[in-house]
Symmetry: C2
Subunit: 475 residues, 2 copies
Amino acid sequence: MVWRGEVVQDYVDLLACVWSDGLPAEALLSWLDVRRRANRLAVERVPFRELSGWEFDDGTGNLRHTSGHFFSIEGLRVRTDHCWFGSWTQPIIVQPEIGILGLLVKRFDGVLHVLVQAKNEPGNIRGLQLSPTVQATRSNYTRVHRGDGVKYLEYFASPRGRGRVLADVLQSEQGSWFLHKRNRNMVVEALDDVPLDDDFHWISLCGLRRLLLRPHLVNMDTRTVLSCLPPEPGPAGRKLPTPTTSFAAAVAQSLTEGSTALHAMGEILGWLTDVRSRRELVQQRVPLKETAFSGWRRDEHAIAHKGGDYFRVIGVSVRASSREVSSWSQPLLAPAGPGLAAFVTKRIRGVLHVLLQARTEAGLLNGPEMAPTVQCRPLNYRSVPAEHQPAYLDYVLSADPARIRYDTLQSEEGGRFHPTRRTATSWWRPRTTSPVEVPQDFRWLTLHQILALLHHSNYLNVEARSLVACIQALS
Amino acid sequence: MVWRGEVVQDYVDLLACVWSDGLPAEALLSWLDVRRRANRLAVERVPFRELSGWEFDDGTGNLRHTSGHFFSIEGLRVRTDHCWFGSWTQPIIVQPEIGILGLLVKRFDGVLHVLVQAKNEPGNIRGLQLSPTVQATRSNYTRVHRGDGVKYLEYFASPRGRGRVLADVLQSEQGSWFLHKRNRNMVVEALDDVPLDDDFHWISLCGLRRLLLRPHLVNMDTRTVLSCLPPEPGPAGRKLPTPTTSFAAAVAQSLTEGSTALHAMGEILGWLTDVRSRRELVQQRVPLKETAFSGWRRDEHAIAHKGGDYFRVIGVSVRASSREVSSWSQPLLAPAGPGLAAFVTKRIRGVLHVLLQARTEAGLLNGPEMAPTVQCRPLNYRSVPAEHQPAYLDYVLSADPARIRYDTLQSEEGGRFHPTRRTATSWWRPRTTSPVEVPQDFRWLTLHQILALLHHSNYLNVEARSLVACIQALS
């Protein structure tokens, strides 16, 4: 029995550390380098008049594609009581359709592996990043029987007989930039043999999570799908690997079902209902030209706010070495200055809890969603009075570096957003400095509670989901 | 021990049958009659020009209150692939705020009682109906500290110290008539003594459910809040009362946690995600005057569709004998012809399941929600080709009367809707005639699964929630 126990332990260590097909991290990065050379994008900023197929509508000023497809840049008028200024008008991306972000997984020798795609997008900081197996638009997957070339799409569009659906849920995109945008986050376990295509590679789930410790490598779409994957039930008789740090142990414990939470789930849901009911968020689509009254100016190169705040809409021309469409041009949204997303975490009654805020964002469909403890672009607050600075921003910026458990640059989605560095950071503070009593818009949740909420739509925003994926890199 | 068991059984029978404070059904109905005499509304149809404070906007044609408060009637353009005609424009009620529907409950001698209000609304068919303890607008409850006279509001606006929150969830209103409207459904258990006000009465939960067997007595708002109330955990040592019919036994069993469901909850959520992703629903607010292109005509008395279908918007003038505001006028929406909402139910693997459809409605916020097996106004389909008639409509209309378990007229909400009789009907069919295999937009759920979904927003539409309340009258 002792001998058998040792074998199981060896096997579990393997599960914790193995890379795809035994491919060590360096080998996967070399493969990425090879794909990067085969898969170049030349991206060049161009004035709007050189955006082929795109035009400003005469009446509304909206920026749209002449085909009516893709997306448009329109105006949104918002009235809220949440921010320190109550109402404003802004440009916003309108794309009223639901796309699929699909991750195909499969067990090799009992170890769950993920099929990642090396994909280039015009807004990617370092070219190729690891994206989900499938990123498809609604028209891709409703027409899948006609065969339109999105590889592996059949596992997500009609999984029956091919795969077992492990996760399937609509989640929001960036609420400050998208109007009511949702994507379908899916994880499907393949039941048959999966032919391996160029630009795709199997990597163990654990190995992919470890890559979240590196900057700009695992793209935003992969991070959100990973966050929706339910935790693997430990195989009968196996123990989890011994965590290497006490923080890792705390994360692993917080992910388990039995961990004691400060608040029952009913209280958490009631709290969000209360914030959603009290906080006013009235949204009205308006012509883009009406954003001029709020200080948005358009010249031939950009739509920008007079103070340089928030973001700009710009145009890029793209030439690809390996796409079906070898060149195109499109607008991108370029955020003004780096973003910061941080979890403040704390052991309460011995269990690691994460502090989430119910945050109103201009374009969210259901009102406030749960966001990281701090989520902002600090530059936007440089002229904001102290009392209206985001809660916990100072606390996070002045944190003892020894208490910072995760501090890695991650990218926004490269198909819509122009490079701005975003710091995705998870912070852990000892109980002596972080109080359990928090403002009305904040609540402490265990990781297990967060994963349970991720079975449902529109509870956690995309920035929080991204950090949920990242914190699991530490377990 | 046998003696003790008998006492418990007596007590449980009491729980199943007791009326408020020992008040038998006839006495409660007499009380309602007294309140009805004290609380009259004289409702008269008037042309739009006699609607005091209401006007049609010159530019848009929208019908709105000059104060900007209350609600407005605007236009909505819809594009969908769900209906047999794909796109249309219609008038729609716009009221972008979340109200509270709150039910105060309290145990008397261990039996859960509900505080109902005898309330009159201009659209009520028989005057007073039993409404929730509180129906309040957002401005009511965000200004509660100023004291604006909504009785018992404090239990819902700031329950801490006064009550224990049993349910608190945002749910949708009628998607065909309201744009993105949600109300907060709350149940709070009072911890202190509750002074009883005129127009309010305690009734046991069980007694209130029995009143759902009578027509037009328990209003729509009460029904939706009742549906969100989690089932009472059986007190330790007590058995549930012995059901009087085998259908009642099947309902009671389907409500319990251990009952075996045809589909796991993950499959149900994935199914709804799939329908929400595939079904197109593009909504665009437009000026009311643009609905003219879809056949909507306005004269001095009504906004109506040229064929008389769907609904009309009319004006009423109201004089009340007992309101703070003793007279007012307002628009109402008058549906064209009676509605039908029916559950087809079936024992599968020995457990009662309910057949729900994922139904697209013009004004829903999150796309399709789960609706009754059949939900339509049959008159609207009189000129629709047979292949586009609603699924299961014929099946329900031709059902063997001996198999109809619930068939009672219930009302729409009387504050916005003009009387049209709605048949809320629950049907039970033996397994020999109703197949387990159903169309892609339909799924079988147990009642326990349905109650679990009702902890979350926007899974079940208001018609389905109303029937969920009604079917529990049978358990």
